[in-house]
Amino acid sequence: MRYVWAILSIVAVCAALYFVAGTFADDETRQVLALRQYNTRIVVVGTTLLGAAAGLIGTFMYLRKRAMIGDALSHATLPGIAIAFLIVGDKQIGALLIGAAVSGVVGVVAVIGLRNVPRIKEDAAIGIVLSVFFGLGLVFVRIAQHAHTGNQAGLDRFIYGTTAGMIKQDAQWIAITAAIVLASVVLMFKEFRLVCFDQHFAVAQGRSVHVIDLLMMAMVVLTTVVGLQAVGLILVVAMLIIPAASARFWTDDLPLMTILAGAFGSISGFSGAIVSARFVNLPAGAVIVLAAGVVFSTSMILAPRRGIAGAIVRRARLARRIGYQNVLRALCEREEDSGEGVRASKAELLRMRSWSARRLNSLLRRAIRRGDAAMGPDGLIGLSRQGRIEARRVLRNHRLWEIYLIRHADVAPSHVDRDADLVEHILPPELIRELELALTETPEIPPSPHGREAFS
C-alpha cells in the first residue's frame, strides 16, 4: 500500500511539474509539450518507456555491483548486428536485434569466463570484452558494407542512436520490452532481492542463483538491445546506471528504490525527448543522458539522508555540539579545580584546549544565549545552574570513557584524553549506564585518570 502511495505521489509531482512547465513556457514549447506532432508523440512515449525499463532493471544491476557489465554488453552487440546485417541486409530490424542479443549474451558470458582466469579481474574482463568485441564488430561492419554497398546508415544508428527517427514499430518494441521488464521485476522481486543482498541465503533456500542471475541478465540484454536504436550504444549504458545510482541516494528501501529508479529513468527520457524536440540540433540521446545527469547531481546533493548537503549539515551540527560540550566541560573542570561557582576568564579557557579565540567566542556566546553560562561585568564566565547540570553530565561521560579505555582497552593514560575526546560526544545513554555498571565504584564525577594538570 505504501508503494501505491509512493507511485501516486510521484505521478502527481510529475503532473504538477508538467502543468507548471506548460503554464510558463512560450508557445512553441507548449506545442511540443502538448505532443501535437505524431512524430514527437512516438519519440516521447518510446524514450519514457525505455527510461522506465532501464531504471527498473538497472536498480538490480547496480546493487549487484554489475553496473559496468552493461558497458561490455552494449559494445558486444556490434558483431552480432553486423553479422545479421551481412546475412539479411538491413531490411529486417528483427534479425538485427536478434543478432545483437546473441552476441551481447556471448559478450557477457565472455566477461564471466575471463573473470575466472587467474589474474584477470572483473574490470579488465569488461574492458577486454568491450574493446575486442567492438573491434570485431567494426571489422564485420566494414565487410558488410562492402557486401551491401551504399547501405551503411542502418548500422551507424546502432552506435549513435537516432532517437528522432524513431518509428511506431520501434516504440512498440520498447513498449513490449518495458512490459516484460516490469512484469519480471514485479513477479521475481523476492528472488532479485535475495541475489542482490544475500546470495548464500538464496542458495540455502534452495533457489538457483544462476537461474535468477540469468533472468536478470536477459532483461538487461533485452533493454540494451532495444535501447541501442533509441539512444545508441554508449548512452544506453548511462540509462542503465544513472537512474539507479540516483535513486540509491534517496532511500534504503528496495521497492521504493526500484520505483524511484523507474521514475527517474522515465522523467529523463521524457524531458530529454521534449527538449530535443523543442530545440534544433540537440541530439535526443545525449540530452536524455544529460537530463539523467541533472537528476543524478540533484539527488547526490539534495537527498536528505545520503546526500552531500545533508551530510555537511549533519557534520556541522555535530561539530557544533562537540564544541559546545567542550566549552561546558572546560568551565566545569575549572570549577572542579577551584570550587563551585568559580568563574574563568577567556584567556584561561583559551589555554585549556587548542581552539581559536574566534571559535571559543562564538561557542561562549551560544552558551550565554542558551542560559547555560553567564558573563559577569568583569568579563569572567561561569556556569549557570542548568548549565552546571549539563556540564557535569558531559564531564562524567568523558571521565567514564577514559577509565573504560584504560581498564579494558589497554590505552595508555597519556593517550586516553584524546581518544575519549573523540567518542564521548556520541555515547548513547544506554552505553553510559553500561559503563557505570562496568566501573561500579565511581563517584558522581570520577577524578581524571591521567592526573589532569590542576589549573592555577
Binding site: Y62, K65, A67, M68, G70, D71, H75, L114, V117, P118, R119, I120, K121, D123, A124, I126, G127, I128, L130, S131, V132, F134, G135, L136, G137, L138, V139, R142, I143, H146, A147, D156, I159, Y160, I234, L235, V237, A238, I241, I242, A244, A245, R248, F249, N281, L282, P283, G285, A286, V287, V289, L290, A292, G293, F296, M300, R306, I308, A311
Partner: protein, 444 residues
C-alpha cells in the same frame, strides 16, 4: 598488392599508439583501474570539442590541453562521487563518462557548422588517411605526434619506475615511504588522457581501450616480473599493429577485396586473439598447463590412495604384503580412466604387481618398494591425525577427512617436524600404529 611505404607508416603509427597505450596500461591493470582507461578515452570528447571551439583550429596543443583537463576532471569526479556519494567506483565511472560523452556529442551537433569534427573519427580514428599522406611523400603529422607521446610515456614510466611500481602494488607502503599515491594516480591519468588524445586521430578511442588493457593483461598472464611484463606488453602491441596491416595488405588478394577492414579494428581483434592464445597455452597459468597439472595431481593422489588402501588391507589381514585388491574394488575417487591410469603407473613403477587370487580373479598386491612408499603415506596420514587430536579440538570421528586431504602434501621433513610436536607418536588416535620413518626398525 605490395607492401608500400604507406603501409609501413600505417603499421608504425598503429604500433606507436599501441605501444604508448600498453606502457601505461600495465599500471591501470595492476591497480585494477582498467575501466578508467575506458572512461577517460570516452570522456575526452568534450575536451577536444571545447578546445576546437575556443581556438578555432585543429592545433594539437589546444586539443591536448582540453583533453588532459577533461581527463583529470573524469578522475576527479569519479573520486568525488565514490567518496562523497558512496557510489561504487565502477558505477561512478559509468555515470561520469557517459554524461561527459553526451555533452561532447551535444557540443559537436550544436557547432556542426563551425567544427569540422566527426564523432565517428574519434571513435574509430582515421588510420587509412595516413596511408594517403605517406604516399604523397610527407611524413604524416599523427606519426610525429605519436612519436613524441610515446617518448613522453617511456620517460614517465622509466623515470618514475619505482614510484609507479610501489603505488600500483602497495599504495599504503607508498604513502608510508613518502610517495604520494594520489599524485601518482593523477599523473597516470594525465598521461592516459594525453596518450588517448594523440591516438584518436590515428586509431580511435576503441583501439585505445583495447591497447590499454589487452596487451597488459596478456603479459601479466605470462610473467611475474614488472619490467618483463611492460616489455612484453609493448612488444605484443607492436606486433599486433604490423600483423593487422599485413592482413590488410594480404587479405584482399587471397580472400577477396571485400575482407579489408580498418587496421585499428583488426589490431584490437588480433590483440584479443593473442590474449585468447595466452589464456589457453600460457606455460604456467594457461588452461592447458593448468589442466595437465590438475590431471597429474589427480593421478598422483589416486595412486597414493590405492597404495594407502592396500597398506591398510595388509595391516588388517595376516600376511604383510600379500593382501590382494581386485581391480573392481578400486572405487576410491575420480573417473575410471584416471583410476586405470593410476593403476598402470603403479605397476610400471613396480609399486604393485598383479597376481591371481585363489578364486581366479585378477588382483594386485604391494611389492616391497610399494610397501615402503605406502608406509610413508600412511605415516603422514596418521601423524596428521595425531597432531590434530593433540592440538585442535576436533572430535575423533572428524580427524580422518582433513588427514585424507593433507597426507598427499606432507614431505618426510614435515613428518619429522610433526612428530617432534607430538608427545608420543607410536599410535594414532584410533589406536593404530603409525608406521616408523623409513630406515628405522619397526617396533616389535
Amino acid at each position: 598488392m605490395m607492401w608500400t611505404i604507406g603501409d609501413t607508416y600505417v603499421a608504425l603509427v598503429g604500433a606507436m599508439s599501441a605501444a604508448a597505450c600498453a606502457l601505461l596500461g600495465n599500471y591501470l591493470v595492476l591497480r585494477k583501474m582498467s575501466l578508467m582507461g575506458d572512461a577517460i578515452s570516452h570522456a575526452v570528447l568534450p575536451g577536444i570539442v571545447m578546445a576546437f571551439l575556443m581556438t578555432g583550429s585543429r592545433g594539437i596543443g589546444a586539443i591536448v590541453v582540453g583533453a588532459v583537463i577533461v581527463g583529470i576532471l573524469t578522475a576527479l569526479f569519479t573520486q568525488a562521487i565514490t567518496r562523497f556519494g558512496k557510489v561504487e567506483e565502477g558505477a561512478a565511472m559509468g555515470v561520469v563518462f557517459t554524461i561527459l560523452f553526451a555533452i561532447g556529442l551535444i557540443l559537436i551537433r550544436q557547432q556542426a557548422d563551425h567544427v569540422d569534427l566527426d564523432p565517428q573519427c574519434v571513435l574509430f580514428g582515421n588510420i587509412e588517411n595516413i596511408h594517403v599522406i605517406a604516399a604523397s611523400g610527407d611524413i604524416p603529422q599523427p606519426a610525429i605526434n605519436l612519436a613524441v607521446v610515446l617518448l613522453l610515456d617511456a620517460l614517465f614510466v622509466t623515470l618514475l619506475y619505482k614510484q609507479l611500481k610501489i603505488s600500483a602494488l602497495d599504495p599504503a607502503l607508498a604513502t608510508s615511504i613518502g610517495i604520494n599515491a594520489d599524485v601518482m594516480h593523477y599523473a597516470l591519468m594525465v598521461m592516459v588522457a594525453l596518450t588517448a588524445v594523440a591516438s584518436f586521430e590515428a586509431v580511435g578511442s576503441i583501439l585505445v581501450i583495447a591497447m590499454l588493457i589487452v596487451p597488459a593483461v596478456t603479459a601479466h598472464l605470462l610473467t611475474d616480473r614488472l619490467p618483463v611484463m611492460i616489455a612484453l606488453s609493448v612488444v605484443l602491441a607492436g606486433v599486433a599493429a604490423f600483423l593487422a596491416r599485413a592482413y590488410n595488405v594480404v587479405a584482399p588478394e587471397l580472400l577477396g577485396p571485400g575482407l579489408q577492414a580498418d587496421t585499428s579494428a583488426i589490431m584490437a581483434v588480433i590483440a584479443g586473439g593473442f590474449l585468447l592464445l595466452t589464456i589457453v597455452f600460457a606455460p604456467e597459468r594457461g588452461l592447458i598447463s593448468r589442466g595437465i597439472h590438475r590431471i597429474r595431481l589427480i593421478v598422483r593422489i589416486l595412486q597414493e590412495d590405492i597404495l594407502g588402501r592396500l597398506y591398510r588391507q595388509a595391516e588388517a589381514g595376516t600376511a604383510a604384503s600379500a593382501a590382494p585388491l581386485a581391480k573392481g574394488d578400486l572405487r576410491i575417487a575420480g573417473g575410471s580412466i584416471f583410476q586405470r591410469w593410476a593403476l598402470f603407473r603403479l605397476r610400471s613403477r613396480q609399486f604393485v604387481r598383479p597376481v591371481k587370487s585363489e578364486s581366479g580373479r585378477s588382483v594386485v598386491v604391494l611389492t616391497d618398494k610399494g610397501l615402503a612408499r605406502a608406509a610413508r603415506l600412511v605415516r603422514s596420514h596418521r601423524l596428521w591425525e595425531s597432531y590434530l587430536a593433540q592440538h585442535s579440538d576436533l572430535p575423533l570421528d572428524h580427524l580422518h577427512m582433513p588427514a585424507e586431504r593433507v597426507e598427499h602434501f606432507i614431505s618426510p621433513e614435515m613428518g619429522e617436524r610433526i612428530q617432534e610436536g607430538l608427545s608420543e607418536a607410536d599410535l594414532d588416535p584410533h589406536g593404530r600404529e603409525i608406521p616408523p620413518r623409513p630406515g628405522d626398525a619397526r617396533r616389535p
